[in-house]
Symmetry: C3
Subunit: 221 residues, 3 copies
Amino acid sequence: MDLFTPSVQHWLDLAGIFVFAISGALLAVRKNFDVIGMAVLAEATALGGGLIRDVLIGAVPPAALTDLGYLLTPLVATALVCFLHPQVERINRAVMVFDAAGLGLFCVTGTVKAHAYGLGPVASVAMGLATAAGGGVLRDVLANEVPSLLRWDREIYAVPALVGATAVALLIHTGLLDAVTSALSAALAFGLRLLALRYNLRAPRAWHRRSGSTDQGAAEA
Amino acid sequence: MDLFTPSVQHWLDLAGIFVFAISGALLAVRKNFDVIGMAVLAEATALGGGLIRDVLIGAVPPAALTDLGYLLTPLVATALVCFLHPQVERINRAVMVFDAAGLGLFCVTGTVKAHAYGLGPVASVAMGLATAAGGGVLRDVLANEVPSLLRWDREIYAVPALVGATAVALLIHTGLLDAVTSALSAALAFGLRLLALRYNLRAPRAWHRRSGSTDQGAAEA
Amino acid sequence: MDLFTPSVQHWLDLAGIFVFAISGALLAVRKNFDVIGMAVLAEATALGGGLIRDVLIGAVPPAALTDLGYLLTPLVATALVCFLHPQVERINRAVMVFDAAGLGLFCVTGTVKAHAYGLGPVASVAMGLATAAGGGVLRDVLANEVPSLLRWDREIYAVPALVGATAVALLIHTGLLDAVTSALSAALAFGLRLLALRYNLRAPRAWHRRSGSTDQGAAEA
């Protein structure tokens, strides 16, 4: 199912891929990787979530390998970051906003695609989260960093994606999913992520943490 | 093939998933992750081995995405660890025993499923090992730790799984696999793992290690 | 398509798998892993690239699980490294040459197989790179190291693979691919990698790096 007209959907996908790729290439610069490392990390961040979803639901070869635009867009992002990364870093706040838009878009399209391949609502929501957040996890694992998604000292990322994906699953279940309601679901996830960034919203940790794990003194084990 | 009656098999699977999820959630607490990190690590540990096997043998969508109980059980384990992790840590020895039971169960079911999808005996044994140990490796990779499975200073984990899986492969080859013999194979792996824990059995390392890698002074490179 | 007669192709594949497995087992020794860790890392390095490619293009179960030689060859390499690793380390330069040969071979066979499964030229080149370099990335991720492929202070590895894979894609497009031209493509990648090793060729990094990232003082962030 296309949420919008096919060409609008396609341009939105490419825009989401582009901003995710920017975040991968920027991490590569911070880690002092070479341009190959930048391109690999940009591709993995941008396409990783969709690849994981497509492999799990049996949609092979994945869209990322059959659509030339999907493969080439991260290379454009890599070139941009390669030559202009101080400027890109300076507009990091704007990059975060676009990344939140990608999050909103992909949690919706991922859930819809998983449903189209026959998965139930809970599994579809899980695939929506995997589409939105899987690329970032792959980026961090490849760069040998603790995934942002898991860290308590990062603004919530999974929760907005889960809310957006759950909204879509409910809309599918009630037969109300159309271009408008799916756009609203994406906007809901987008807005929650922006609120999380603005107000530093974080997820709680387990109760009764040992004294060494206070908010002030916490370091990774 | 179901080793036991379908419902017994299903409850055993859920029990194995539950204890694996506990180990993932506990590592997340030790790493100071938030509740999202706990849930992600619990899901990855509990379902990761089966997901890897199912993707490799072509059983998509994997059982983990079509059975609601598989997806939700790790969340129950996460909630338990979230509120009661000091108590869960205190019974860590009991958790290790249940984990050994999960190891025994999954090396058997993984080997049987791989055989059912047409793989040969050696590949089926490899898939039995992947089912039993893959989730733990995924847990450690996501948490940015050296996988327990690879470390010399951990009690053997792969060997009991390999023995159990090999026993199943031989039983299949000789036509002797049934509920009793497969339960015995699982018990064999379970027992070996308990012996390894009790007597600190470790696998050897390469010969002629450089002087810096003595048993006393060894640190990871 | 077989590039050569089937049996020649098969022996070349096994030789490539063997040398990749050596590099995995050697890293395990350096990381002080036990023999299980050596075998797991040898298997992952040798078969990982092909597994990733086969899962993505839908060729399941992958060749690595249906051909007994593919599964057992890394164990032979593990045994060799286990007993003779000081000697193997001493001929490390020779191992690097064989690894370069594996790189040349696998970038060609990976591209050809991806094309045979219906992928376009750019995606096929990406799969050629994944086949040649994916195992090494998996090895480094499992060992909790920053992947060599991404590091600026390593001789280029991806570029020779990309050149070889691109040559194959062009040959397919022009209908000129046969045993001779594919062997020449593999030799081209092999030769470029040897040149890179001989003259310490490295890929550039992003422009305008911050002062802390000079060539002299660079450390990973």
